[in-house]
């Protein structure tokens, strides 16, 4: 048994319809994200592992609540059981919401990778998942530069375009060396959280080389989104 595939989507709240308003402003990347996840589900995994980069290490199981109320949305009745269950941190909650929308009901675990860990440590985690007993699908959450335009969350960084193009290239070519060499410093400078999910992927022998079929690669409101599927 091994990793049967992976899908890469941004952990962008705007991809969750209940948060993005009536006009579906991010319809195109949302369609691409859904398509990437659907292809992963169609590869018949027994379980999914949702992975995101954050400033701490943590693991959650399917009992954790999605809890998007911290980002807003219309007022809703409070869940009486809410206080009793753990809440997923935001990037993982976005992944969970996207999977819910696709009616994925299989076993799912969630993993936050501390952004201080090295490329090798991330790859080792990927290797461990690949050596597990179940047919596993990986949902990788992350975006390229959030400094891709003047109006971007972090304003325009002159290196953003090159950073984004490098990401696209390493994914399309399955360039494990380039993925392994993505630096934490450059990623942080670009407000990008894609490094560790990709470096975990680079450790998965079953998907080597990790060539991604890219369904969307463009900036949205100054944040560079990549939606891709990785299959053997």
């Amino acid at each position: 048994m091994s990793v049967v595939g992976a899908a890469l989507v941004p952990a962008a709240p705007v991809l969750v319809p209940e948060l993005s308003g009536q006009m579906m402003p991010a319809a195109e990347p949302l369609d691409a994200a859904r398509a990437a996840l659907r292809r992963l589900i169609d590869s018949d995994p027994e379980q999914l592992v949702v992975v995101a980069e954050a400033d701490r290490e943590a693991e959650f199981d399917r009992s954790a609540r999605i809890g998007l109320h911290r980002l807003g949305g219309l007022p809703r009745a409070e869940d009486p059981d809410a206080a009793a269950t753990e809440e997923l941190p935001l990037p993982l909650a976005i992944g969970a919401a996207l999977l819910d929308e696709l009616d994925w009901a299989g076993p799912t675990s969630y993993r936050l990778l501390n952004k201080s860990i090295s490329s090798a440590e991330a790859a080792e985690l990927g290797q461990q998942l690949d050596e597990g007993d179940s047919r596993t699908g990986l949902v990788l959450l992350g975006n390229g530069s959030a400094r891709s335009t003047e109006k971007a969350p972090g304003s325009l960084d002159p290196n953003a375009e090159q950073f984004n193009q490098d990401l696209l290239s390493m994914i399309e070519q399955g360039d494990r060396d380039a993925i392994s060499q993505l630096s934490a410093e450059a990623s942080e400078g670009q407000m990008s959280d894609i490094r560790l999910p990709l470096q975990l992927l680079a450790g998965v022998a079953s998907l080597s080389p990790p060539v991604g079929e890219v369904g969307f690669a463009d900036q949205f409101k100054g944040v560079y989104y990549l939606c891709a599927t990785f299959l053997p």
Binding site: A11, A12, P13, L19, G21, M23, R70, L71, G72, G73, P75, L90, A146, E150, K151, A152, P153, G154, S155, M191
Partner: protein, 287 residues
């Protein structure tokens, strides 16, 4: 509570309009319309005639952009504050700054209020307000760095955060020596918030009022209005006035706006609906 903002004193029943006068070439709404001294003074004449109670003068756009040093900021606003003070000896003047050096120079030129729109980044600003017996606006930004945009910001308890942070700033200002009646809190629409957050802060403004601190609302033409109604920046007046009406009804006291005449009419109407202001002329059914 009676408000005392420098030389201005306002009774409980008064709802105040603060007119925005930007001394910037690049602010999001007016895009440099009052960048020159002449245009800025013309704007002041207009808003005073339209009923503004406070003139809020700022020298740095809120969003990211060209770096403006404290010296450059002071150069943009301080001589102009002196000119407005000379033209209008009694009008309340506010300076929109997070820097104490600029606040001090502004007070020396005649400013009455420190509009600390970036929420206590420079704690010395409150000390300056205390030294000059000026008022201070304590704004919620969620801890954002000045001139940054929010990115996937989330709150476990939005109103708890807003009230906790703004009242802490208010208490700190009080401890620094700012008179209690000169301290105002502001939920900081769009600052460290997405549109959902700003909408919630609007509909729950009454919870800020319940703290006992006077509440200022600065929502004029902001992005949360544009996103809510799908309107570009030059078509957000109606949404802005709706936010004024709701928060005025909830008890907010000061409205920082671009459109003074329209806002004045809305707050007068709300005051009459609340039973705080007699209608201008009542003859219907009474003849």
């Amino acid at each position: 509570m009676t408000l005392r903002l420098g030389r201005g004193s306002f009774e409980d029943s008064e709802i105040l309009v603060m007119a925005i006068v930007n001394r910037t070439p690049d602010s999001f709404f007016d895009k440099g319309a009052s960048w020159t001294d002449e245009a800025a003074m013309e704007r002041v004449h207009q808003v005073v005639a339209e009923g503004a109670d406070i003139i809020d003068i700022g020298g740095v756009k809120a969003g990211p952009g060209e770096f403006v040093s404290a010296e450059d900021e002071a150069e943009r606003v301080v001589p102009f504050i002196a000119a407005v003070r000379e033209a209008y000896p009694d009008v309340v003047i506010s300076v929109d700054t997070w820097r104490h050096e600029v606040g001090r120079a502004a007070c020396e030129a005649g400013a009455d209020v420190m509009n600390d729109a970036w929420g206590g980044v420079d704690p010395k600003l409150a000390e300056v307000a205390a030294e000059f017996s000026a008022g201070i606006i304590c704004t919620h930004t969620g801890g954002a760095t000045p001139r940054t945009r929010p990115h996937r910001i989330a709150y476990d308890d939005l109103m708890g955060d807003i009230i906790g942070r703004t009242t802490a700033l208010a208490e700190a200002a009080l401890s620094a020596g700012v008179p209690r009646e000169g301290i105002v809190i502001d939920p900081g629409h769009d600052f460290g918030k997405n549109t959902w957050h700003s909408l919630e802060a609007t509909r729950r403004a009454g919870e800020m009022v319940e703290t006992g601190w006077p509440v200022l609302i600065s929502a004029s033409n902001k992005d949360f209005i544009g996103e809510t109604l799908d309107r570009p920046v030059d078509q957000r007046l109606i949404g802005s006035l709706a936010a004024v009406a709701v928060t005025a009804f909830e008890g907010a006291r000061i409205f920082r706006v671009h459109a003074v005449a329209e806002t004045r009419e809305v707050v007068d109407m709300v005051a009459s609906i609340k039973g705080l202001r007699e209608p201008s002329s009542v003859t219907r059914g009474l003849a």
